[in-house]
């Protein structure tokens, strides 16, 4: 068992087989740096619980194909990313920090799916970006490819 500590001082025990899906922790274990609790100063307990849930479910991913559990895993993944935008943001940051490749792929794809049809205004609001383009610069980009700004799929709502 490996002990992880979130930045709000909560400790979690995770099986080594699950936790080594994180390249960062795998390297720590291999280097003998994981003898006591591993502090994770960038991750809060709420996010860490989600990440551990993912790691535990994906523990036998290699075996899933043999035992026909692929569909089960796919369904779990779909349910897993069904979270709020802010929560997804935190899980992406955690997956990046811990270097969990599959989780990163899953969450980045979910973020892309949510942004795909958004209007420019909605993207700015979701990612808290201040527009620093002048009106003329903006108009120039629109005139360059007006088709990209038209279409029934374009969604101006946030989330």
């Amino acid at each position: 068992m490996v002990k992880l500590k979130s930045n709000d001082d909560k400790e979690f025990e995770v099986e080594e087989a699950a936790v080594i899906q994180s390249e960062m922790i795998k390297n720590m274990i291999e280097d003998g740096c994981a003898t006591s609790v591993i502090p994770l100063p960038n991750i809060d307990s709420k996010t860490l619980i989600k990440v551990i849930e993912y790691l535990n479910k994906h523990i036998n991913m290699g075996k899933a194909a043999e035992t026909g559990e692929e569909d089960d895993l796919k369904e779990f993944d779909e349910q897993f990313v069904n979270m709020g935008w802010e929560e997804l943001f935190d899980v992406i940051m955690a997956a990046n920090y811990l270097n969990i490749h599959e989780l990163m792929e899953l969450c980045c794809q979910s973020a892309a799916d949510r942004l795909k049809n958004k209007s420019v205004r909605a993207v700015r609001e979701m990612l808290k970006i201040t527009n620093d383009l002048t009106e003329e610069e903006e108009q120039e980009i629109i005139n360059d490819a007006p088709w990209a700004f038209e279409g029934p799929e374009i969604d101006d709502t946030v989330n």
């Binding site: 930045n7 960038n42 991750i43 809060d44 996010t47 802010e86 943001f89 935190d90 992406i92 940051m93 955690a94 990046n96 920090y97 990163m104 980045c108 794809q109 973020a111 892309a112 942004l115 795909k116 049809n117 958004k118 209007s119 420019v120 993207v123 700015r124 990612l127 808290k128 970006i129 201040t130 527009n131 620093d132 383009l133 610069e137 903006e138 980009i141 629109i142 490819a145 088709w147 990209a148 700004f149 279409g151 374009i154």
Partner: protein
């Protein structure tokens, strides 16, 4: 490839797990998300801010976007559809190769419908490379067509 993006200050701020309401993705993560977007979204999102415009127009980003589509076997589907009077029209869409294998082509739901070059009837496709198509025009000559943006040159 070692080339790094020009520093885009806005995304350098790292503030995970704080109570701050300002949360920015660092640039490396933003790139991971944006390479998964269709071309239409990316062309539109150049309007988000100066740094997004620079990032999306960057050659290294374009190469990464193209590689991601290739790795996931995103393909161009060209179908000849016949209207009521029996005239054939090309119908172009974009989908994943795996989707086409798992369901018959006629029922596969395209990821994205694409436009066609004007007066495209009678054109013959010769080859495709890196998302570009080379078409042979009925009147002679060639047309180089980018299906994602519907831009073409004779």
């Amino acid at each position: 490839m070692v080339k790094r993006f020009k520093s885009l200050l806005r995304f350098d701020c790292f503030s995970i797990g704080t109570t701050s309401s300002k949360k920015y993705f660092p640039e490396e993560i933003l790139v991971e998300i944006l390479i998964r977007l269709p071309v239409k979204s990316l062309v539109r999102f150049r309007c988000v801010s100066k740094s997004w415009k620079t990032l999306i127009s960057d050659e290294y980003f374009k190469a990464k976007h193209c590689n991601h589509a290739k790795k996931n076997k995103k393909i161009l589907i060209a179908r000849m559809l016949f209207d009521d009077v029996g005239i054939g029209h090309w119908d172009f869409s974009c989908s994943y190769y795996s989707c086409c294998l798992s369901s018959p082509l006629s029922s596969a739901r395209p990821l994205q419908k694409l436009g066609c070059p004007s007066n495209h009837n009678g054109y013959n496709k010769i080859c495709c490379c890196d998302g570009l198509s080379l078409l042979l025009c009925p009147s002679g000559g060639y047309l180089l067509w980018n299906p994602s943006t519907n831009e073409s040159v004779h």
